[in-house]
Amino acid sequence: MQPAANDDRLKQTGDWLDERTGWRGNWTAVFLRKIPKVSWAYTLGSATLFTLVLQFVTGILLTLYYVPEPQQAYASVTYITNELSFGWLIRGIHHWGASAMVLLAILHMVRVIIYGAYKYPREVTWLTGVGLLLLTFAFGFTGYLLPWDQRAYWATVVGTQIGSVPPVVGGFTKDLMLGGPEISGLTLSRFFGAHVWVLPSLLVALVAIHLFLVVRNGITSPPKRDE
């Protein structure tokens, strides 16, 4: 087959799709949009998004073997780590990716503060970003319990005790997190449910708004000396 004929067929397929979906306009708006002259610091948001995608992929893979039940949680994690092909890698990426994502999200936020990119008209982008950072922390907190080892168990004891500090509502907040008066199998299953269903749903919605606003408003150019 000749390359020219191939290109032709590809273009025809693209045209056919474009006529029915208008994808070219969106592609241009998202990936071929004009941006000001920027530095590497501007890649931190994309880097955070990249670690998020990695977390999604490795997290979904881990759920194929992980069992959120007290008798099996630790055994299934041990199996993933020590016996399963590339289990150490998939779990390792998820483990270190979690820390990397928190770090990158914070660096991204620092960049936005330093460059003044949170100002008009991008306040809503900033607010959704704050929500995303909090969600990332919640991911870290709920995911930490899932291996169900000593460190996970006691970290959750400490973390939920901190939740009990506020007057009046504190005690109930703690019981709500634990699903009872103390850590049990119910705590494990609700942390798992939060980690793989509740938080990802919220995160995807917020990321969509965040990215839409980034594309809609464009990104800021670095502030100039006389600004």
Binding site: R24, T28, L32, R33, K34, I35, P36, K37, L54, V57, T58, L61, L64, Y65, Q72, A75, S76, T78, Y79, E83, L84, S85, F86, G87, L89, I90, I93, G218, S221, K224
Partner: protein
Amino acid sequence: MGADEGPPSTSGVPSGVGADGPDAVDPGRRKFLIATIGAVGGTITAAVGVPAIAFVTGSARTATGEEGWIRLGSVGSIEPGAAPTLVKATIERRTGYLVEEQEVSIFVTTENGQDFVLLSNVCTHLGCRVRWVEAEAGFHCPCHNAMFGRNGEVLAGPPPRPLDRYEYKVEDAQLFFKEA
């Protein structure tokens, strides 16, 4: 910083002008960047994707059952010429970190007390369990109305082959079978 840089709305590009518009960048640079993105992206995808395939197929590739002869029961409990007797044995199956006890049910018949026929009770059509129906002198599968004869041969219905037979041996008046 040149004066021509600013928010997209003021960059003077009419809407609808794409990548190859009048102010398009050097095509060589553009091609190089696209190729770089493709190469880096492809490498990362492969670095995660290939281990992911090994990971997903892992427990399916390493499941193990019990090896060697497994005791089924005493030969004396099988009467020559009688209706097939359903005999159960418990075997250990290891899948991943789970070691589970599994019950295997085998229909045993003998005509002379010397030679035995050990039939699996799993229908060869789609895996339902068959049971012996004395009135029709055959094994009936409730899922799709299959009938098998006393020695496992297909009498009616969709099964593609007779009931599976287990290899067996008799030792000290005990019946042993091997997992297929």
